[in-house]
């Protein structure tokens, strides 16, 4: 009985010491290998098709695992505001090779790929190729045409290809009516702020994903701010034409009846009226995707490469 008690005590102590030690050792292993060691395995995989053959029929499950890895990889890089997303494309390619009908991988994966860094990988050509691969596997799914049109429109600035994608998508069963409208209006309104707002609004209203919704909201905020800056800029010009001088401050415009008060940005910070009559936002880093009202030569700060 005494012997058993001694063995139990030794075993309990060994368990505590060995388990604690193993966690500490594993922590060191993680530090040596790096956080993305598992994801880097994709660099050794010749192709997703080979992996599919090796998956013994469990390719859908493996595709889910690779999709989760792609999301984790994107999430970590996005958080770091990284400029390079080398493994995103191979991860998405393997995912969609394993399960060609995993629509979410084409829809969101292509948006991760297409947006300019640091918001995304800045690889619109690869993003378009990914969606085209999705369309080949799922030819009647209209949302993929919308995503393709979106990439051609915003990131590739290929309005003709965007129009064709919207047009084809509008012919698919279940397509929303505005796909046809967008295809029709593309020729006249391509490049306009209001047209971009329309596309983002459709995306905001139609998506169920919180991340995509938030991204669309940020774009809509930036577009709205840009419209406001353009309008105020016109009023500054009106003031200059009336008085033959630039306004010294916002109160000149208010006194002239051109403004109701000091204009503010979406964060409620007053806009800055510069001596040369241009308008700038107070803290451009806090308004993602804004392309107007930025200090000359200003670049979005980057945390990590």
């Amino acid at each position: 009985m005494k012997g058993r008690r001694k063995s139990t005590t030794v075993a309990v102590l060994l368990l505590i010491a060995a388990f604690t030690g193993s966690v500490l050792a594993l922590h060191q292993v993680d530090t040596i290998r790096g956080k993305q060691a598992t994801l880097e395995e994709v660099l050794y995989i010749p192709s997703g098709k080979t992996l599919k053959r090796l998956s013994l029929g469990y390719s859908s499950l493996l595709a889910d695992i690779y999709w989760t890895r792609a999301v984790q990889y994107f999430g970590q890089k996005h958080q770091q505001e990284a400029l390079h997303y080398e493994m995103l494309d191979p991860l998405l390619d393997i995912t969609t090779d394993l399960d060609p009908h995993l629509i979410i991988a084409y829809e969101f994966g292509s948006i991760f790929l297409s947006q300019p860094a640091p918001a995304g990988a800045g690889q619109p050509e690869k993003a378009a190729a990914l969606v085209e691969k999705g369309i080949r596997a799922n030819p009647t799914y209209w949302r993929l045409y919308f995503t393709l049109g979106y990439i051609h429109y915003f990131d590739r600035k290929d309005y003709k290809a965007a129009r064709e994608a919207f047009q084809k998508g509008s012919e698919m069963p279940g397509a929303y009516f505005w796909m046809k409208v967008m295809a029709a209006e593309m020729a006249q309104r391509a490049g306009e702020n209001s047209f971009a707002t329309e596309i983002w609004s459709h995306l905001y209203e139609s998506t169920q994903d919180a991340m995509v919704k938030d991204n669309a909201r940020q774009h809509l905020t930036a577009l709205s701010m840009e419209r406001e800056i353009e309008e105020i800029q016109r009023r500054v010009e009106t003031f200059r034409q009336r008085t033959n001088r630039l306004p010294a401050g916002w109160y000149d415009l208010v006194r002239a009846g051109l403004l109701q008060g000091v204009p503010v940005d979406p964060l409620n910070n007053p806009l800055k009226l510069m001596p040369d009559g241009t308008i700038q936002v107070a803290d451009p880093a806090k308004i993602p995707f804004l392309t107007k009202g930025l200090p000359p030569g200003w670049k979005r700060p980057v945390k990590h490469q």
Binding site: G3, A11, A18, I32, Y44, I65
Partner: protein, 258 residues
């Protein structure tokens, strides 16, 4: 004490070596490794890569199968044949019995791995007609595979200390599969929030991490393995095995064998 432990260890080793299933598996692995050059011939320019991948993966998978299928019977067979009562009626402690069984099976697996490694290197030499400095990395990959055997054997014995052979095999194999995705589980924990985060983090540290012990892809491509990784992987595998064996001893000490 050490002589009793050594006696159980070598007895377990002898019994395992006599097991026909074991020989079948070894022959199968050797055949697989020997046929690898044929795979190479139908994959132009990838002969060595395919041979290394097939060879090392075979050594790993078959070693794990051996560890699980022999490990599950180590305790139950002794109870079934009633030899356990004879052993424990002598001055042999229960912890000595279970530890001896563990060491015996580990010894069997190491000897198996050595034979498989010889067969693998013979096949490699037949295919390439030469050895390069990078081939030393292959030995490191096999060393890591042996570390995996340490952990798999420990968890198999842990399950077989309280469960039936079938369930022990299922549990051990399931834990092996989960362990190969341990890093995905940790990444998931890092992105989760609230209670899920705590649960996932706890589970991620609790399950054995086999992904860090799998460097087959790296060595197949000639990428170097850092010495610190060898050190900490060794420390991790040994400590995790000790922890699992400590739990097995605690359970087996309290098990009613009547």
């Amino acid at each position: 004490m050490s002589s009793r432990l050594a006696a159980i260890t070598f007895n377990t080793f002898r019994e395992a070596v006599r097991d026909r299933v074991l020989y079948n598996l070894i022959i199968f692995v050797l055949l697989l490794v020997a046929s690898a050059p044929l795979f190479g011939q139908i994959s132009i320019g990838l002969e060595k890569l395919i041979l290394v991948n097939v060879g090392l993966t075979s050594i790993s998978i078959f070693g794990i199968i051996i560890a699980i299928f022999i490990g599950i019977g180590l305790v139950s067979k002794e109870i079934e044949k009633k030899t356990l009562y004879t052993i424990l009626s002598r001055p042999v402690r229960r912890w000595e019995f279970i530890t001896g069984k563990y060491l015996g099976l580990v010894l069997t697996l190491v000897v198996n791995a050595v034979f498989m490694t010889i067969g693998f290197f013979v096949a490699l030499f037949i295919a390439t007609r030469t050895f390069t400095r990078d081939d030393a990395g292959l030995l490191l990959a096999i060393y890591f595979i042996i570390l995996q055997f340490f952990i798999v054997t420990a968890i198999t014995l842990l399950f077989s200390s309280f469960s039936s052979p079938i369930f022990s095999a299922v549990f051990a194999f399931a834990l092996f599969v989960i362990g190969t995705f341990a890093e995905d589980l940790r990444n998931f924990a890092a992105l989760a929030q609230g209670v899920t985060k705590w649960l996932a983090t706890g589970a991620a540290w609790l399950v054995p991490n086999f992904s860090a012990l799998n460097v087959i892809s790296q060595v197949a491509h000639g990428d170097p393995i850092r010495p610190q990784l060898v050190l900490f992987n060794t420390v991790y595998a040994l400590l995790y095995s000790v922890a699992a064996m400590a739990v097995a001893v605690l359970i087996f000490e309290r098990r009613n064998l009547k």
